[in-house]
Symmetry: C2
Subunit: 209 residues, 2 copies
DNA sequence: ACCTGAACACCGTTCAAGT
DNA sequence: ACCTGAACACCGTTCAAGT
């Protein structure tokens, strides 16, 4: 019957998925666990630490070894895996972005990116910087994508469901055709831009040497 | 003696610069303006709207016309200008990132990036996507850079000032030489990676056509 | 038109005291 | 070791009533 650290974490993840980050309060979490708010502070020193543990759990398996031998495919695989992990939980991207803002340095996702960069032939300092760049892109893109999707899900319920065929896309429309296109497409484009940039740098380097 | 919308905005910016985003509360703002909390709600419907107005003010002049004719220099100039604007206020990057997460679409900084991309010769949808990618990078980098700088400023005051010469850099050190190197250098690297990526895409396009 | 007074419905965190 | 009870010091927002 006793509460363990893992139970608190599980409860927090459950509230996140069902009600979102804004509704994840220590008091609500305590209630859902049938315990007084103060009890949580025996298991976690503060809310920030709990959020950090949640972020770690969300990213648990993104740093697994990559399947491809090609460095570019490897980077793409890692980036896709990271995005998928973030999208797997409500407000997942926002939570991770907020938590990792202060501790970008010690970050499993970044480490993996660095490894892929080094394997690509980038000098280590370059790989470090490239990893940051990619991480910024993936986090930024995914936060945006997720908040947009949630807004739309909210609007879809609020709006009068006129005809089910038109409600999928092209609502805000205007003339920017690509803006509310498949987020996957937009993600892949940015990723390709990044990989092309790395490739260009590699070419420059080998020509210089 | 009457409070105007602009006064509220000015007061909010002053609190931001002096105490940071976390200490910018409606109640504190009201007190600093010599007014009851409720009074603020006559000028702004809620805190979120006020934060949005602050973000707009921070980015006021980033979309000014660019000096260079070269598209790559133009993009670099815009990116640098955006970074500088974010760094000009305490927690400026965090505020803008948080506020613009939901309204990435209507964003003056993005518009400028799109323009530069189109001038570069990118098809418009590509330019749109490239603009997002760059924006994600600049915001992500600058949020990180600023929070890091503020942590260090805090640590510099807390830590025993042993010898003034060693406190500048290379503290966390380890073997990652570049990590706490000049943020400007790291920023320029990521920017170069992006521009190289765009260049590569342009080359591919012209070869295909 | 603009603001006060006062409340409503919350927060995160601490800590003596209990078991 | 783990939790309760109860408090402390706050929040954002609303709204009748005042001027």
């Amino acid at each position: 019957m006793q509460l363990r650290r893992g139970d608190v974490l599980d409860g927090a993840m459950a509230i996140l998925d069902e009600y979102g980050l804004a509704d994840l309060t220590m008091r609500r979490l305590a209630t859902s666990l049938g315990v007084q708010p103060g009890a949580l502070y025996w298991h976690f020193p503060n809310k920030q630490t709990l959020l950090g543990a949640m972020a770690d759990r969300i990213l648990e398996r993104v740093d697994a070894p990559v399947s491809s031998e090609q460095w570019d495919d490897g980077i793409a695989e890692l980036a896709h895996r990271l995005r998928k992990a973030l999208l797997a939980h409500r407000d997942g991207a926002e939570l991770v972005a907020a938590t990792y803002a202060s501790r970008m340095t010690s970050n499993l996702a970044r480490e993996s990116f660095v490894g892929a960069g080094v394997r690509a032939g980038l000098p280590r300092p370059y790989a470090e910087l490239a990893a940051y760049t990619l991480l910024y892109f993936v986090l930024g893109h995914t936060v945006d994508e997720q908040s947009r999707a949630q807004l739309e899900a909210l609007g879809a319920l609020t709006r009068t469901p006129a005809s089910p065929d038109t409600e999928t896309a092209a609502d805000l429309g205007s003339d920017d055709d690509f803006l509310d296109g498949d987020p996957q497409v937009r993600f892949d484009f940015g990723l390709a831009l990044f990989i092309d940039g790395v490739r260009a740098r590699l070419a420059t380097d080998s020509r210089t040497r």
